[in-house]
Symmetry: C2
Subunit: 434 residues, 2 copies
């Protein structure tokens, strides 16, 4: 362990990062900025080629930064055997759900299997992916031990959950306190020694299970609070009360209240998915997770309520559904990001297409909509200009990107369905809420 | 209206406050401090006598303050006919639930009926009680109109929910922004003119329904977040993870997370009750309030879990249940208050008495436990000293009052069941968690 810590302290430690997405790239950049050598791995050839050319695909990491470091102290590769040349292996891999809403751990466990032949003594494996309590100690630890390593002595196992918040410009990776846990106390020491070189504040917890549950609690808290405010929106609408006015008024209470806002549903890689990792684990112990399931139920029905409201609006205005054209503003799952994973906009689009003539979208962050597993028909973003807006019978504001020209949209659209409260204080007879 | 506002501005307006409890007394004191004359009403003879003698029963209002003002610009009375002599009538009355968990509005509506013969032109009625959306416009307004008043012209109707947080020393009534709404725009103007004399910040909302729902949202948000963390405690315990360590670690996230702590259940006059006012109203419209009901379900079962854990502990330690003595520390529903309304401690006591020989309590704020509707056997608080603590087989920490000597309790109790995490970082073999 002393040797490892010595290498960390004089920055001769080589960092390997597997998974070069919205977690891996910012993490790599922190290590690079702090004088470490980083070797990045990804199975996605496009990402590797883009990085090699010095073209960034993560909004807050500049291409200039990549070009400055590429082939100096940063290199990327698809060749996983190179893992034998690094000291620390940080896994920043997706942990999605399978079709039954159970954890799909194939990326994490599959990667560990594929790097197993190339692991050497005194290496450290760190998992950053969000996962259920017990993943590190009950699943990964036995895999490492089987290879003949003595974890805590000649190999180190760390769990330290990523806390990235895409689109949040207030906090860089280095400014977000880092939860660190180790399989043994030596593992914890190694983990802390590494992260304290790149993050201002380390929060050590007593076990990997605690760290795993900490990350889940953060996202469950968010999923439940969004679920609650979505249900409150439904109730509020039923009572003829403006939910945004209520939330804004409640927010003036100087203690005991934190505002969350309703919307057309939830998306992204975290909030719709992570909570069910705990559901799965709790079920194994015969414990229920009722808040998670209720939040999932409410949040999941929100896109369908938007569709219902849209079709109602067409009907009320005597428009022929089959001939109607609808424009969805915002494909990304949240404001000012380019991420459309699990985005409610996709579901709204998909559903609406069953009823109306044409559904288009506009999103400045997503000029081309790629095919996805769910959605097979690629489209191009429509420009938000007067003539285009006039083409549609209904414009749905699904994502409240700052870039949209909301006054132009208000002036030029025949009807607007606002699911984000962007027109909350505006009374106009072409604006409706869902 | 001009006359009313003129009177407000030169402080010749007389304020009548009906209901002299934890809301009415602090409100009266703000008006008194700002040079208004206040006439207080209550049906409780004990309160009237106590106030006349200048003895305060509200912890943060001093008896000195009362004596200074009594018979100068403050008077109290049981005689409701005196209401004809005031300009503003502020109702600070309880809004509890009936046996079926439906709103019990008899205090509010009954009071309005009883003051009706004494109402005169140009008076203002303000309701401060928490209630369901529609109370002011659908129930109180028709009562006033029937009396022949023209609301908004020669009578004013205001809803402005109290936001008192008993035990919170950080905020005086004047420092908490005040939500104000009126049945008409003139009513709103009158309401704002009155409250801006005593509160630093007024938040006007567009309707009484909006103000009613705002207060409910604040308390629903709290009830649901406590329910969530109580469920997380159950899950966490099942996985062998310390929930307090998890919450403390999650709290280091600088955005998107607000810590709530688990406990033996919820109490007080607000959190267990108010949310169901919305449930009742929503049901009338055929709308469900699933988060409220789930939070109620989880929070309600917490006291029973403490009882179960207590009995398990006795069994595990081979103690004869029927001969066991248990001491409950804290009768109040929360830290550092003297309020035992809806307190989970009472329910824990009541349940435990069915199984064990003796259950006593200690609470520095409640030297004598009065008879309540639920609990018929009055008791006296036991002093927390070594010899007393040794008398009991089990000590349950139900309320984490600051005054308790926790190191003495740890040293002198044979077993402790900690429901508040006061010993969260202490490892001792006589301390257990529930």
């Amino acid at each position: 362990m002393k040797e490892v810590i010595y290498k960390i302290n004089n920055r001769t430690l080589k960092i390997g990062i597997i998974g070069l997405g919205y977690v891996g790239i910012p993490l790599a950049s922190e290590f690079l900025e702090n004088g470490f050598k980083v070797l990045g791995f990804d199975t996605d050839e496009e990402k590797i080629n883009s990085l090699k050319k010095g073209i960034s695909y993560i909004s807050h990491i500049s291409s200039d930064f990549l070009r400055e470091h590429m082939n100096v102290n940063f290199d990327v590769s698809k060749d996983i055997s190179m893992i034998k040349n690094v000291d620390v292996i940080i896994l920043c891999l997706p942990t999605p759900l399978d079709k039954k809403n159970n954890p799909n751990m194939e990326f994490v466990f599959g990667t560990i299997k594929s790097i197993s032949p190339f692991l050497v003594k005194n290496q450290t494996i760190i998992l950053e992916s969000t996962t259920y309590p017990g993943t590190t100690s009950e699943e990964i630890y036995p895999m490492i031990r089987k290879l003949g390593f003595n974890v805590g002595k000649d190999f180190f196992l760390v769990y330290s959950p990523e806390r990235e918040d895409p689109g949040n410009k207030d906090f860089k990776t280095s400014e977000i306190p880092k939860i660190v846990s180790g399989h043994t106390s030596n593992c914890l020491k190694v983990g802390t020694s590494i992260y304290e070189k790149i993050v201002n504040e380390i929060v050590e917890v007593s076990s990997t299970q605690t760290a795993e549950l900490t990350k889940l609690l953060e996202n469950i808290h968010r999923a439940v609070n969004i679920g609650l405010v979505n249900e409150m929106k439904i109730i509020s609408a039923g009572l003829g009360i403006d939910i945004y006015e209520v939330i804004d008024a409640a927010s003036t209470k100087p203690f005991g209240f934190t505002p969350y806002y309703p919307g057309p549903g939830i998306g992204g890689h975290c909030i719709p998915i992570d909570p069910f990792y705990l559901t799965w684990k709790a079920k194994q112990k015969g414990i229920e997770t009722q808040f998670i399931e209720l939040a999932g139920f409410i949040n999941n029905q929100m896109p369908l309520r938007v569709v219902e409201e849209a079709l109602n609006l067409l009907k009320k205005n005597n428009l022929n559904q089959n001939k109607s054209k609808i424009l969805i503003l915002g494909l990304a799952y949240k404001k000012d990001v380019d991420d459309m994973r699990e985005s409610p906009s996709i579901r709204i689009m998909e559903e609406l297409e069953r009823f109306v003539l044409k559904v288009d979208y506009s999103d400045p962050f997503i000029p081309n909509m790629p095919k996805t597993r769910r959605y097979k028909r690629p489209k191009q973003s429509i420009e938000v200009i007067k003539d285009n807006l006039r083409e549609y019978d209904l414009v749905i504001i699904a994502t409240d990107h700052s870039e949209f020209n909301y006054s132009l949209i208000k002036e030029s659209s025949s009807m607007i369905l606002d699911t984000r409260g962007v027109y909350r204080s505006i009374d106009a007879n072409n604006i409706f809420r869902a």
